[in-house]
Amino acid sequence: MSAGATIVVVGAGPAGMAAARVLAEEGLRPMVLDKAARPGGQVWREPVGEGEEPSLPGHDPSQARRARTAFLELARDGRLDWYPSTTVVDLTRDRLWALGASGAVDSTGFDRLILCPGAIERILPVPGWTLPGVYTSGGARTALESLRCFVGRRIAFVGTGPLLYLVAARHVAAGASVVAVADTARLHQALAALPGLAADRSGLALAARCLAALRRAVVPILRGVRAFAVEGRHRVEGLRLETRAGPRELDCDAVAFGFGLVPQLQLLDLLDAPFRFDPESESWLPELDRAGRTPLPGVYVAGDGGRIRGARAAELAGERAALALLEDLGRPVDGPRVARLDRELERQSRFARALGRAFPFPRALEEAIADDTVVCRCEGVTAAALRAASRAFDADEINRAKALTRCGMGRCQGRLCGPSAARILAGARGLDLASVGRLRAQPPVEPLPARARRVEEETAA
């Protein structure tokens, strides 16, 4: 890595690419790192192989392609330094460590850092959720849009949130058989959120297109689902639902499930950045000003890694954070441009908050996770084990429960199970969710092969 670079952008999704573009246009030549081989992030991921991209609701491949092409042109022209297939594994206030494409680890110092780590889909442990054939809705989407395959022959979508409908509608458009969309939210919640949703007409229009596509394909949309369980011995054989109209069995061989997105906080957590519990989304969010500045000098966050607002807002947030960085460097910035971005981001925030009200996380389901359900699949820790440990050892904090049960100690480091484990602990102890805390990130934040060497060792060898 070049020693002269002092501005690092982590993540080359919509936010990271936009931030990098602003900095490159200012001649600051940022370093941009992403663990993927190609830019685009999760949402603007480049499809594998050749051929036409399918036409899907709300999916404009040309927009993503334009952004990726512009980014790669800046890299080719030497206006930014692009490090694909480079996974950040550890981070301090002035240095980051990354595992590169060669399998070697390298480090670089930096003066300023824009983190665009994106989000992770929130899941809910239910009976059968670890069976082969269960995917997150985002996983099903990646399979469809990047790998051009379906996760099953008959796919049931269950959970809540706009992504669920979007991915289901895209599956229908691509010719997949979708047996149902089962939503834990209720219609009146969506209706009550309509005034807020009007903040983004195009977002609302996309929702209407998705619903229309599902209706044309006669996909049942079940709202107000009270509980669900995945059935099957060795893989998915069906989905059992408790609906308001009574129990229902769906015949399917794949389940795509998800409950909205939460920011990936691990990198910021390594810096000891402050977080706050957001009661509306019931998740932990980094403390940020509206431009994306963290309270740590020189550290910025943009995109869904800061606030869940979707791809378009992520792109604007990337631009806004880069402008904040320029401002902080004492460079002149275009005032009206900043004001326009702030207005647009505020509008997107209103829309995102309304979506949150339309599709609230089903806390009752999480509180009721059955004792024998595996919460932490990496370590095989059940809800009963968490509840028992909290009682036997008076554990009222999630990292203590982790020490006692191993929950969150496996490969995913609690990314998936952390929120549900905290809820179970809070429930068992009669505490509120915020007070039990969150699992702290520890390096390496991505699995590190023990054979990894430092770049200089490689060269010397």
Partner: protein
């Protein structure tokens, strides 16, 4: 809400040594209050490597280690739960002839204190543990040593102490300690006070600071041993492994994870924070690959460090204060206190209640640092 407590013994520091002391006192029906600034086992006690070995220790520590080893064997009975202690043996490896000679010399001296080690040359080593890398000069195997789970052990001691009647106050920083007519007055943040006859300083890396509050000057530095763990691999490495010289240590648990230690992380005593260092992690992995080449296929999923106190001679300070009557110290375990802790608690309880212990603490007392005249008369 501020309260005033009166007790016989107040223990400052809820690491494993503090919790073991509380349990030993409570078992003898002695009123005691343990005050912990964070939660019991937050720092090195709860996140150390988990080695339970006598091999390689300073000879002064061996009487204590022998007693501790007997206690580890029946720890589940003492604390009411399995601490995952397993006598897997401890294998110390020599990289060259000089290190092997040092292992032999230690084994000969330790044999007089009843620690049995088996010295192996390079061929015997390779035959018995074929997964070891080549290029080792030999090793010393102590079959009765082993390993345990540090995450559980401190909590088990704290829980057992509480059940036996000890009062354990967590998240209570001590803001002042002073001598009083009946012994000591300990002030806790928020205004609560503890009046105690005896004060035990088990504050780990903060031990010198607690001693200083009472005018006793003791040395000590803060360290943060750097540790990592892998995803599960097939279970092969039964003994706990260490090096004769400075270097790494590693062990595998039966569920397959390999725990590596070596080098230091970064620690900030004032903020009570520490973190592993990636450069240390990479150096540990490089050495681990040389010693057990098969570990190159492991995947590291987590690293950590824990704040620990270290003394200039790498031996703990255990025993009555050289200056302040009624004050006892047990801190500065220098990265190898986990194994000793159960016995340290038992010995401290004897010193406090009986005035003497059957276990020798020669060479471990605070007097060895009291060369200069007292700063306070």
């Amino acid at each position: 809400m501020s309260e005033r407590l009166a007790t016989e013994v107040c223990i400052v520091g809820g690491g494993l040594v503090g919790c073991a002391t509380a349990l030993a006192l409570a078992r003898r029906r002695t009123p005691c209050v343990l005050v912990e600034r964070e939660r019991c086992g937050t720092h090195a006690s709860g996140v150390n490597y988990g080695g339970v070995r006598r091999q390689g220790r300073a000879l002064e520590e061996l009487p204590l280690a022998a007693r501790a080893r007997r206690m580890w064997g029946r720890l589940a009975v003492l604390v009411g739960h399995d601490s995952e202690f397993r006598p897997t043996g401890h294998l110390r490896l020599a990289r060259d002839a000089a290190e092997l000679a040092a292992l032999e010399q230690w084994a000969a001296e330790a044999a007089r204190l009843d620690v049995r080690c088996e010295i192996l040359g390079p061929h015997a080593l390779a035959a018995r543990w074929p997964w070891l890398g080549s290029g080792l000069a030999g090793g010393s195997f102590c079959a009765d040593d082993g390993q345990a789970n540090p995450r559980l052990t401190t909590l088990l001691f704290a829980r057992a102490a509480r059940e036996q009647g000890a009062r354990i106050l967590e998240q209570k920083p001590v803001t002042a300690v002073e001598r009083s007519r009946r012994g000591f007055r300990v002030v806790i943040q928020g205004g609560s006070e503890i009046q105690t006859r005896v004060l035990v300083n088990t504050a780990g890396a903060w031990g010198p600071a607690i001693a200083a509050l009472l005018g006793e000057e003791l040395p000590g530095e803060v360290i943060a041993p750097n540790m990592l763990v892998s995803e599960p691999l097939p279970y092969r490495i039964e003994p706990n492994l260490g090096m004769a010289g400075p270097g790494i240590y590693l062990r595998q648990v039966p569920t397959g994870s390999v725990i590596f230690g070596g080098g230091r992380g970064a620690a900030d005593l004032a903020k009570a924070r520490c973190r592993p260092l990636f450069s240390t992690t990479l150096a540990t992995l490089a050495e681990a690959r040389r010693i057990v080449p098969g570990l190159a296929s492991a995947t590291i999923i987590r690293s950590w460090a824990g704040i620990e106190g270290r003394m200039p001679d790498d031996r703990p300070v255990i025993g009555p204060s050289a200056r302040v009557p009624g004050l006892f110290h047990a801190f500065g375990f220098s990265g190898h206190g986990f194994m000793l802790a159960p016995a340290v608690g038992a010995v401290l309880a004897e010193l406090i209640l009986d005035g003497h212990s059957s276990t020798s603490l020669a060479g471990l007392g605070p007097a060895r640092f009291a060369q200069r005249p007292a700063a306070f008369a």
